[in-house]
Amino acid sequence: MKIALAGNPNSGKTTLFNAITGKTEYVGNWAGVTVEKKEARLKKKYELNHEIIKVVDLPGAYSIAPFTSEEAITRDFVVEASPDVIINIVDGANLERSLFFTTQLLEIGIPVVVALNKGDVIDKRGEEISVEKLSSQLGVPVVQTVAVTEKGLKNLIEIAAEACKINKLTYQLTTVETSDTDRQKIVKEIAKHTFVQKRDATTVRFSDKVDRIVAHKIWGLPIFFLVMWAVYSLAIEGPGGFLSGYFNDTLFGEVIPTVVTNFLDSINVNPILKDLIVEGALGGVGAVVGFLPLIMVLFFLLALMEDSGYMSRVAVIMDRYFKKIGLSGKSIIPMIVGSGCSIPGVMATRTIEDMNEKRMTVILTPFVPCGAKLPIIALFSAVFFPGSSWVGPSVYILAIGVIIISGLILKRIFVWEAESSFILELPEYKLPSLKHAFIQMLDKAKGFVYKATTIILVMNTLVWFMQAYSWSLIPVEDQSMSILASIGTWIGPLLIPMGFVGWQLGAAAITGFVAKENVVSTFAILLLAASEDALHMPGGVLTEFFTPVTAYAYLAFNLFTPPCFAAIGAMNSEMGSKKWLFKGLGFQFAVGFAVATLIAQIGSLIIYGAPITGFVPGMVLLAGLSIGLFILIKKADRKRTTLGLED
């Protein structure tokens, strides 16, 4: 048996889906969190007679044909999933709007059961919805549920299983021919007969008063920055950062390597294998796993924020600023989600209707430093800027600046007709659930550990091997004769404009495309093999390669060049065309090189008063990029004139 979940955005479909399948899919308190259908098996607890039941969670919709009458996109989605029964989640807090979609679902010809959800909200308002009347008027079973507390879910599944057995509806409320206006009238009648409204929805409530403060035209922005600053300082400086510091310096820096080395020595393990384990696997993975507490705190706080309903308000505040740079207010949601991880961030762009705004957001979202880039930021600020707390925040401010400037440039070089409009539901605020945030945090932690013990471990073992052996597979005395060194040397010339000298820097940047954490673990392996000092020590071995200024430039280089392969994959599917993917990647490379070159060359000139290595190539690169940009803008302007578009 297969059950499909359908209903309005933010009606609680995914919460219900997670409750009955035991999954931990992404939930947030704004319209359009679920962007693609998800399928899973029903949890044992809810199974009937040990039958395997599949559940499909569909993206939310207000109507069967959301854009034009001809295209019934939502119907196609439902039919494609080929369920035996549809559970239509009706938002009890907004009955009339939900029922419009219900009448359309009834016409598909698949049995429907209505889950009247958010029973707790209805109770809180002191309102009543008559389940019996609603059921008789719609001609389908109606079950009251509270997805958050799993109330009524067992009953819902039983009734859904029963409904499957009935092949044909005996009663037809509306037909496909019913006009949408008539449909609204029918729905209105049903709501009138079943719903006892106690409150006047149009009065100004507490939630509206909060909105007037947090989405205020002047205070909105500072409040948003304060919230984000609190999230990051709690994660980076607070308990998360403290534990990570301990993990890095003591646990993975001293305790574990010593214990493992002693153990391996005691059982007379081959020294090469010992080095591989201690320096390659432990050194590399340890340098990353140490950041687990920091990342857990970050995701916990982001989950709380997403659950509260605040995200939609931030979209409202940002809309007018983002419009100026060719984005939509909704672009802020992918960016906040992207501050945890770029992959769900890029996927969250699907709520942006306008294709051009969506593409711009896909290109810009990876510029927001994600959780995997935090280890790089933390490492560089510990080594080069010990004791100063401005490095972390400055990276985020730099990212915002780069996003704004990039947006302005993209708006100039790509031609499109501005037709975007902004409409967003403002859900009621709710007290964020600690349990939910905790589950999301554990889920993210599991993902992080999984990544560290698979892709990062494999990559680190490979890196260790490549720095210890030559192309003829003979162990090398000197790292600079190794495979990795020769690969790093090939890339070397590309890094000259930024004043980065040393094959190690190229090698680390490349491994970063597999997973950004690899930048840190590659340095850990390379330098651990060559030196005894701990990687994270202030003024440690990394200072042989960088001055503080070029270190900051290298940080920027890793932040603003394209993201890891997994995120590039997400960009590919959201862009919808290879042409746009390559345009996006090209743009990101250009931005990464330009920002890093500017910081390294101009920064060094200002701070040290003398040009550094690669000054001339750097200037040539910047000039080349400027000319390229100039040509692209001219070309776009000509196209605009031919198309008769104003800008």
Partner: protein
């Protein structure tokens, strides 16, 4: 009168929706169409917060200009 000219607290009916078919259709599915009640709750950072049926929506100025209200 257009919605963008209404004062905060205005409660009235929609006379018609102008503009693109896609937007009309979307507003319709939310319950914002001819003859339906709409209330202007707040104006926040250039966006119009309206109540339609039982929900609040933020609408930008361009869209607010397309919502024509019936004269009282």
């Amino acid at each position: 009168m257009v919605l963008s000219k209404a004062g905060i607290g205005y409660k009235g009916n929609v006379a018609r929706i102008e503009g693109k078919e896609k937007i009309k259709k979307f507003l319709f599915s939310l319950g914002c169409y001819e003859g339906e009640e709409i209330t202007l709750i707040s104006i926040l950072a250039g966006n119009y917060v309206v109540n339609i049926k039982d929900s609040r929506y933020a609408i930008d100025e361009a869209m607010a200009k397309n919502i024509i209200l019936a004269e009282h």
